[in-house]
């Protein structure tokens, strides 16, 4: 059964500039028509012909960048905003975790706020009395429930908000980015509740930037970009396409940064970052450095599972017999993640003359999320530099993994039978 039917929904926002409003306000008195003044002077299309259906008992994800229309979509489904054109029909009781604790009054106690918030979300007084203890226990606020809400920490605030909303016991749960503020012990509890929901065949609409969670929870995912539907697919496919799109945009950004760095170095200016620089007499000159994936495509944004070819074009002014090629990778804190050169790997230089090309292949990057800088250098065995490019090249690792550190060794876990532990649900392919 289809429980959420979004049929060709377009939402156009009207922007009113204050200057314009002021002008028309005066003129509105002259013309005697106040309503004429309430006319927009700029239109923004937040949603453009969005079409999809969510079936009962499934979890539907919506992903996209900030400003892509996700929140507008949720507001239209809850009925807070109206579509400019198109139709939305929703079967069943909806509870929206859009902003937790919206409408809490800071001066009155948590207890009174539970009642008011619950009534607002559609519970009757009796239902709240019945569920009150559950709500408080789930929020872990037994000791604070009679204190005014203004004394709560933002975590307590959010826990109470979540606890009320989830206890409304809706048929359809709309979740917008609310888990982002929870602490390490509360978020898993929330996710458990959401899982519980799924098991009871209730419908979930989940909007988030946390792609790993989207992938875990959702059956199908809609990717919105600038208000338009880019794709509805299984989570893995939609998320990959979305990440790819982001990577392409970051790519442009990186190319721009790269040029800026090269220009700065050429003019021998000191960059913002002192580590950036180029030195050496250029007896052997590095003319070009490229980063490519193993398929030969030049890029700056890599996944940790990808490999990288570092291509270095060089020109030797004369026949030189003493030379070492080296590379180094640094993270954004300046920590050396990896460095090697041909000398330490015991290559024996014979000679170099004229143009040449070196490729250093990294089979798999195995780095964690972040921005990295690349050093490329040619020097004598004793360290005298011919051409040293320090931190002049930059790339980024973008991954779904949430691990930390400098480096991501390939790893797996195993447990003896005495340990009961649930594995991550298999990633849907």
């Amino acid at each position: 059964m289809v429980v959420i039917d979004v049929d060709n929904v377009t939402r156009i926002y009207q922007k009113y500039s204050t200057r314009h409003r002021f002008k028309t306000f005066k003129s509105s008195f002259v013309k005697g028509d106040l309503f004429k003044a309430i006319k927009p002077d700029e239109l923004v299309t937040a949603l453009d012909k969005v079409n999809f259906q969510v079936h009962e008992g499934t979890a539907f994800g919506v992903i996209g960048e900030n400003g892509s229309g996700k929140s507008t979509l949720l507001k239209i489904i809850t009925g807070i905003a109206k579509p400019t054109s198109g139709k939305v029909s929703v079967q069943g009781k909806v509870s929206a975790l859009i902003e937790l604790g919206a409408g809490f009054h800071p001066e009155i106690s948590g207890r009174e706020n539970v009642f008011i918030n619950g009534i607002m979300l559609g519970l009757s007084k009796k239902e709240i009395i019945k569920k009150f203890d559950d709500i408080v226990r789930f929020a872990q606020l037994e000791d604070f429930i009679d204190a005014p809400v203004k004394t709560y920490s933002s975590g307590m605030y959010m826990r109470l908000g979540f606890s009320i909303a989830i206890n409304v016991n809706p048929d359809i749960l709309l979740i917008d980015e609310v888990l982002a503020v929870g602490d390490a012990s509360f978020v898993p509890k929330c996710l458990d509740r959401i899982d519980d929901f799924r098991r009871r065949k209730k419908t979930i609409l989940f909007v988030s930037h946390d792609l790993a969670t989207v992938e875990k929870i959702c059956d199908r995912v809609l990717w919105l970009k600038e208000g338009r539907m880019q794709m509805i697919a299984e989570p893995k496919r939609a998320i990959d396409a979305y990440l790819q799109d982001i990577a392409e945009m970051q790519e442009e950004d990186f190319e721009y940064r790269q040029k800026a760095i090269e220009n700065a170095v050429e003019k021998e200016e000191e960059g913002e970052d002192r580590r950036q620089g180029r030195w050496g007499k250029k007896e052997i000159e590095i003319t070009k450095v490229r980063m490519k994936n193993l398929e030969g495509k030049e890029k700056h944004v890599f996944s940790p599972d990808e490999g990288m070819d570092i291509e270095i074009d060089v020109v030797a002014k004369s026949r030189i017999k003493d030379f070492v090629f080296g590379i180094g990778i640094f993270n954004s804190q300046g920590i050396s993640c990896y460095g090697t050169n041909t000398n330490s790997e015991e290559f024996k230089p014979l000679f170099i003359e004229g143009k040449g090309k070196i490729v250093c292949r990294l089979e798999k990057l195995n780095l964690i999320n972040g921005t990295y800088y690349l050093d490329v250098a040619i020097h004598k065995i004793d360290g005298y530099p011919y051409d040293y490019h320090s931190n002049m090249y930059t790339f980024m690792i973008s991954s779904l993994y949430k691990d930390v550190g400098v480096f991501r060794p390939e790893h797996s876990w195993s447990f003896s039978p005495a340990i009961k532990i649930k594995p991550a649900p298999p990633k849907k392919e």
């Binding site: 309430i38 807070i80 859009i98 902003e99 009155i108």
Partner: protein
């Protein structure tokens, strides 16, 4: 009209929320004060004491309309200021309420007209807390208790409808024209003096000028204020026809106010 009934039915479904929001508003207002709810009695009491001192001892107006007694004038003034305060604070707070509660409007689906309704209602409760003080002083100064006080609920009802209609207009327009707030503050000052609160229509100076009488007659607040003064101060029958017409005007204002509010409703989540 069809919309109006549908909307009213919807608001009725949320009556428990209104009730809770009003009680929240009242609790929040005095939260942290030592006297708490007693302030609702003390505020009008102190006001009345100030009036008594200023007019009974210092200014000492002796108009025959108040039996030539300065103390009577203090009571008369209080009789009008108390309901006026209900109206003016309701209006001023309504002008702000949609912006103050903007977060709520953006995040939760509920009939937004509840917010101005709650403002008018919680100010009404304050007004009611002031009534015993009014009755007390009326009893002390007039030395008798008039039966016409029984008609007071009718006057209150008229003012309630009028205040609601006005609050709906003011709250929805302020969303689009923030200027309304400032215009309103000035308008209310003017309106206060344009209504018979610190004077009565029985003054000779008013009886002499026809245009002043017309101005006072077309002001709904005149008839509402006179209603209070007749019931409590003069101990006279309320003017049925005048009050009836005012009730009708109030109902029309309410319908128009609701229509404006309804028309602008969809723009609230974006504009507050």
């Amino acid at each position: 009209m069809f919309h109006l009934f549908k909307n009213l039915k919807n608001v009725y479904k949320y009556r428990v929320l209104i009730q809770n929001l009003v009680s929240r508003e009242l609790k929040a207002r005095y939260r942290g004060t030592i006297l708490g709810f007693l302030w609702s009695f003390f505020n009008p009491l102190l006001l009345m004491i100030v009036y008594t001192i200023v007019f009974g001892l210092i200014i000492r107006p002796r108009d025959p309309a108040f039996g030539g007694s300065p103390l009577m004038y203090a009571l008369y003034l209080f009789c009008g200021v108390l309901p006026w305060t209900w109206f003016s604070s309701s209006s001023l707070e309504s002008a702000n309420v949609l912006m103050v509660q903007g977060n709520l409007i953006k995040k939760i689906l509920f009939p937004v007209e509840i917010l101005p309704i709650v403002v008018v209602t919680s100010n009404f409760v304050h007004f009611v807390f002031g009534l015993p003080i009014l009755f007390l002083f009326a009893m002390i100064m007039l030395k008798k208790f008039t039966v016409y006080i029984l008609f007071l609920p009718l006057v209150i009802l008229v003012q309630f409808v009028f205040s609601l209609g006005f609050a709906l207009i003011v709250s929805s327009l302020t969303v689009h024209f923030r200027d309304v707030k400032d215009i309103l503050a000035n308008l209310l000052t003017f309106w206060f003096f344009a209504s018979p609160i610190i004077y009565t229509v029985k003054f000779e100076s008013i009886q002499k000028h026809k245009w002043l009488q017309v101005m006072l007659d077309i002001n709904p607040m005149t008839h509402i204020m006179q209603g209070y003064q007749n019931c409590v101060f003069f101990g006279e029958m309320i003017r049925w026809r005048r009050l009836g017409v005012t009730l009708l005007v109030s109902l029309v204002l309410f319908v128009i106010g609701y229509a404006i509010f309804d028309k602008l409703r969809d723009s609230f989540p974006e504009e507050v």
